[in-house]
C-alpha cells in the first residue's frame, strides 16, 4: 500500500523538520545526528512508496498528489546531494518544510479520480513531468541559495562576526550551490518542456501554443536562460541574481498554478 510507506516517510520528514527547527532555535543543541538519518530514511521509504505507486494499477502521475509526492522526493534528494557535496545543511531550512507540506498533502490521497486521456503517450508524459519537476527543484534550491547569499552578504557588511547567521556556509559556497543548481536544472527544464511539447503537439496540434500555461512556461524558460547567461557571462550574483532568480521562480510557480486556467494541460482529463 503506497500510502502507508508515504506516511512513514512523512513521519520521518516530520522528525527531521522538528530537529531542524530545534537546531535553529538553540544553536547549542546539535541534532544533526538525528535530523539527517531521519530525513535519509524518509527518502528511502518515500522511494518505496513511489515505486509501489508506479507498479500498481493507479494511472501514473495522474493526480496532483502524485506530482506533489514526486516533487517532495526530488527536493529531498537535492538536499542530500548538496549536503554530500558541500557539507552544509542550510538549504534544509527551506527544503524540509516544503517537502513536508508536499508530502502531507500527497498522502491524503494518491488515487486519481480519472486517468489521463488514453491517446497521450505515457512514456512521454512521464518524461515531461519528471524532468520538469527536477527543473523546479533545482530552481527552488537556487532561488533559496540566492536568498541565503543576500543574508550572508548583508551580515558580512554589517561587520559582525558572531550571531545567528554565522552558521551559514561561506558566501562563495552559497554562490556555488546557487549556480550549480541552475546549471543542473537547466537541461532538465529544457528537455522537460520539449517532452511536454511533443505530447501536446501530438494531442492538440499547434493550438497548444496559445494556452496560458504554455505561455507562462515559455516565459519562465526564457527567464531561466537569461539568468543562467547573466551569471555565466557577467558573474551576476548577490542582489541582481537574487531578484532575477526570484522572478524566474515566481513565474515557475505561476506556470505550475496555471494548470487550473489551462484548457489543454490538466492532470485529470476533462
Amino acid at each position: 500500500m503506497p500510502l502507508f510507506w508515504l506516511r512513514v516517510a512523512l513521519t520521518l520528514y516530520g522528525v527531521g523538520l522538528l530537529c531542524a527547527v530545534v537546531t535553529l532555535w538553540d544553536s547549542r543543541r546539535r541534532l544533526m545526528g538525528v535530523m539527517l538519518p531521519a530525513a535519509g530514511a524518509g527518502i528511502v521509504f518515500h522511494f518505496v512508496s513511489l515505486t509501489e505507486t508506479a507498479m500498481s494499477d493507479i494511472a501514473p502521475l495522474s493526480s496532483l498528489h502524485q506530482i506533489e509526492s514526486l516533487l517532495a522526493f526530488l527536493l529531498m534528494t537535492f538536499f542530500f546531494v548538496i549536503y554530500a557535496r558541500y557539507k552544509t545543511a542550510s538549504p534544509g531550512i527551506a527544503v524540509f518544510p516544503l517537502a513536508f507540506l508536499l508530502t502531507l498533502s500527497a498522502q491524503s490521497s494518491i488515487l486519481a479520480t480519472d486517468s489521463v486521456a488514453p491517446q497521450v503517450s505515457v512514456s512521454w508524459t512521464y518524461m515531461h513531468v519528471g524532468l520538469i519537476l527536477l527543473g523546479y527543484s533545482a530552481l527552488f534550491v537556487s532561488f533559496f541559495a540566492s536568498i541565503l547569499y543576500l543574508i550572508q552578504e548583508r551580515n558580512l557588511k554589517a561587520k559582525g562576526v558572531g550571531g545567528f547567521w554565522s552558521r551559514l556556509p561561506a558566501l562563495a559556497t552559497i554562490d556555488e550551490i546557487g549556480y550549480r543548481c541552475l546549471l543542473v536544472g537547466f537541461p532538465f527544464m529544457t528537455f522537460g518542456l520539449i517532452a511536454g511539447s511533443v505530447v501536446a503537439e501530438a494531442r492538440y496540434g499547434a493550438r497548444y501554443f496559445s494556452d496560458p500555461k504554455i505561455l507562462f512556461s515559455i516565459v519562465m524558460w526564457v527567464l531561466y536562460t537569461v539568468l543562467l547567461y547573466a551569471r555565466w557571462s557577467a558573474g551576476w550574483r548577490g542582489r541582481r541574481a537574487a531578484y532575477m532568480a526570484a522572478f524566474a521562480f515566481g513565474t515557475a510557480i505561476v506556470a505550475l498554478a496555471a494548470n487550473s486556467l489551462s484548457s489543454v494541460h490538466r492532470f485529470i482529463a476533462p
Binding site: E153, L156, K159, G160, G162, P169, S233, G235, R237, G238
Partner: protein
C-alpha cells in the same frame, strides 16, 4: 593515591627554555620509562607540546619530582626552578582538567591540545606507565574537556586581528586554498597578517610597496611576486584579498576603482582588509555589491566582541572544571577507603571460615540443608556487624573526619598488619567499589 604534576608552559617559561625541555616523539617512551623508575613514582606520563612540557605522576607520599627535569635534560636545577610550576592532588587534577579543556592554552579554546593530551596518554598507557589512578584521572579529563566544548562556546571564536581577518576571509571565500592575497604596503603588521592567511591556505602572494626593495624582500619571503608601485591598481584585479597598510594620506582605493575591479573580475567578491590609519580604502567602496571592506576599527571591534564573548565562555568553562574537580575528588576519596573495606571483609571472612572449620567436627553428620543454614547464619551475622563500619567509612570518606574514621577502623580491626589487604589495594579497588 597522590597526584603530582610539574611542568613549564608558555606563561612561566620563554621559548628558549621550552625548546630545551621539549621531548621529541621518539624520545618520549624513554622519558616515561625513566620517570616511572624514579623512587616513589607509581604511574607517570609526559606531555610535550610547543607550549608546554609537563610531567604528571601518581606517587607515594613524599616523592620529590623537581629533580626530574634537571636530571633528564642534564640542566642545572637553578636555571629551571624559577620556570617550573608544581601542583599536587586537587590542584594537579584541576590543572589536568584545564589543560585538556584548552583553558590553559595560549589561545584559549584552541582544539589541538586535547588531541595532544590523548596522544601522550596513549603512549604512556601503551608502556604500562599509566594504569589505575592516572587512568581514572585522564579518562575524567577527556570527559570534562568534551563537556566544556559542548556546553560552552569556547572553541568557536578567535581573538587577534589577524585571526579575525582569517575568519572573515573564510566566511567570504570558504576555504582560502588557492586564493590570492595582495599586500599593499609591506610593514610588519601586513607581514604578520599575511603569514596567518598563508597558514590557512592562501597560496599566491602579491606585494606592492612604495620602496620596491622591501616589496621584493617580502615577496621572496612568501614565494610571491613583487608589483611595481605604478601598477598598484592593475594588480589588484588578480587578488581576492587585499591587505592595505600604507602610510598614504589619501585613500588609494576609491569607489570607481571598486567598480572597475568588479567588472573586470566578473563580479567575483573581494575582501579589503585595511589596517592603515588614515585609511587606504574609501568606505564607499564597501557599499558596492560583492566588495567587503573592513578597517582597523571593524576588525578590532569584531576581535573584542570575540574576546568579551570568549571571556564569558571561559568563565563558564572554569566553573564546569571546578565542579568536575570536586566530583573527582569525592570519587577519589571514597576510592581510597575501598582497600580498607575489602580487608575488613576479608578479615571477618577468615574468622568465619576458621570458626566453622573448628566446630564442624563436633556437629557430626548434618544434612546439606543444615550446612547451608549455618553458612547463611554466620554470613548474616558478619554482614550485619560490618554494615555500620562500612557505611560510616563510605559516608565520611569525603568529609573532614575521613582520615580519623579510617584510622580508627583499621586500628580496631587490626588491619594495618594485614599484608594481603595491601596487595588487594593494587589489584582491583575500582571494581570492588561498584559491587558494594
Amino acid at each position: 593515591m597522590n597526584f603530582k604534576l610539574i611542568g613549564v608552559n608558555h606563561n612561566t617559561a620563554p621559548l628558549e627554555v621550552r625548546e630545551r625541555l621539549a621531548v621529541s616523539e621518539e624520545r618520549l617512551p624513554d622519558a616515561i620509562r625513566m620517570l616511572v623508575e624514579q623512587p616513589g613514582v607509581d604511574e607517570g606520563m609526559v606531555l610535550s607540546t610547543c607550549n608546554r612540557v609537563e610531567v604528571l605522576t601518581s606517587t607515594r607520599q613524599g616523592t620529590d619530582l623537581r629533580g626530574f627535569f634537571p636530571r633528564y635534560f642534564g640542566l642545572s636545577p637553578d636555571a629551571l626552578n624559577s620556570h617550573i610550576y608544581e601542583f599536587e592532588q586537587r590542584e594537579a587534577v584541576r590543572h589536568v582538567f584545564r589543560v585538556a579543556s584548552s583553558l590553559d592554552s595560549m589561545v584559549v579554546g584552541e582544539p589541538q591540545i586535547l588531541g595532544q593530551v590523548k596522544e601522550a596518554y596513549a603512549v604512556a598507557r601503551g608502556l604500562g606507565a599509566v594504569h589505575s589512578a592516572l587512568d581514572a584521572l585522564l579518562s575524567r579529563a577527556f570527559a570534562v574537556a568534551k563537556r566544556v566544548r559542548s556546553e560552552t562556546a569556547i572553541g568557536s571564536s578567535s581573538v587577534s586581528i589577524s585571526a579575525v581577518a582569517v575568519q572573515l576571509a573564510e566566511r567570504i571565500f570558504g576555504s582560502l586554498k588557492g586564493r590570492t592575497v595582495y599586500l599593499v604596503g609591506a610593514g610588519k603588521m601586513a607581514e604578520l597578517a599575511a603569514r596567518h592567511l598563508v597558514s590557512h591556505g592562501a597560496e599566491n602572494i602579491l606585494v606592492c610597496n612604495r620602496t620596491h626593495e622591501r616589496a621584493l624582500q617580502l615577496a621572496e619571503a612568501f614565494g610571491g611576486e613583487a608589483v611595481p608601485y605604478e601598477r598598484l591598481h592593475e594588480a589588484a584585479e588578480r587578488a581576492d584579498i587585499v591587505l592595505t597598510s600604507t602610510g598614504a594620506a589619501e585613500p588609494l582605493f576609491l569607489r570607481e576603482h571598486g567598480e572597475a575591479l568588479l567588472s573586470r573580475r566578473k563580479n567575483r567578491p573581494m575582501f579589503f582588509i585595511d589596517i592603515a590609519v588614515p585609511r587606504n580604502v574609501h568606505p564607499d567602496l564597501g557599499r558596492l555589491d560583492g566588495m567587503f571592506v573592513y578597517d582597523v576599527d571593524d576588525l578590532q571591534s569584531a576581535a573584542s566582541n570575540n574576546t568579551a564573548e570568549r571571556k564569558r565562555e571561559a568563565q563558564r568553562a572554569e566553573q564546569i572544571v571546578e565542579l568536575e574537580v570536586d566530583r573527582f575528588a569525592v570519587r577519589m576519596k571514597s576510592l581510597h577507603v575501598v582497600p580498607t573495606i575489602l580487608s575488613l571483609q576479608e578479615y571477618c571472612e577468615t574468622i568465619r571460615q576458621a570458626e566453622i572449620d573448628r566446630i564442624r567436627g563436633r556437629l557430626g553428620s548434618i544434612t546439606p540443608e543444615q550446612e547451608a543454614a549455618i553458612e547463611a547464619m554466620t554470613r548474616g551475622i558478619i554482614n550485619k556487624l560490618l554494615h555500620m563500619p562500612i557505611t560510616t567509612l563510605k559516608s565520611t570518606a569525603a568529609g573532614p573526619e575521613a582520615a580519623e574514621v579510617h584510622d580508627v577502623i583499621r586500628r580496631i580491626f587490626n588491619l594495618n598488619r594485614d599484608r594481603k589487604g595491601e596487595d588487594l589495594r593494587k589489584e582491583s579497588p575500582a571494581k570492588k567499589e561498584t559491587e558494594d
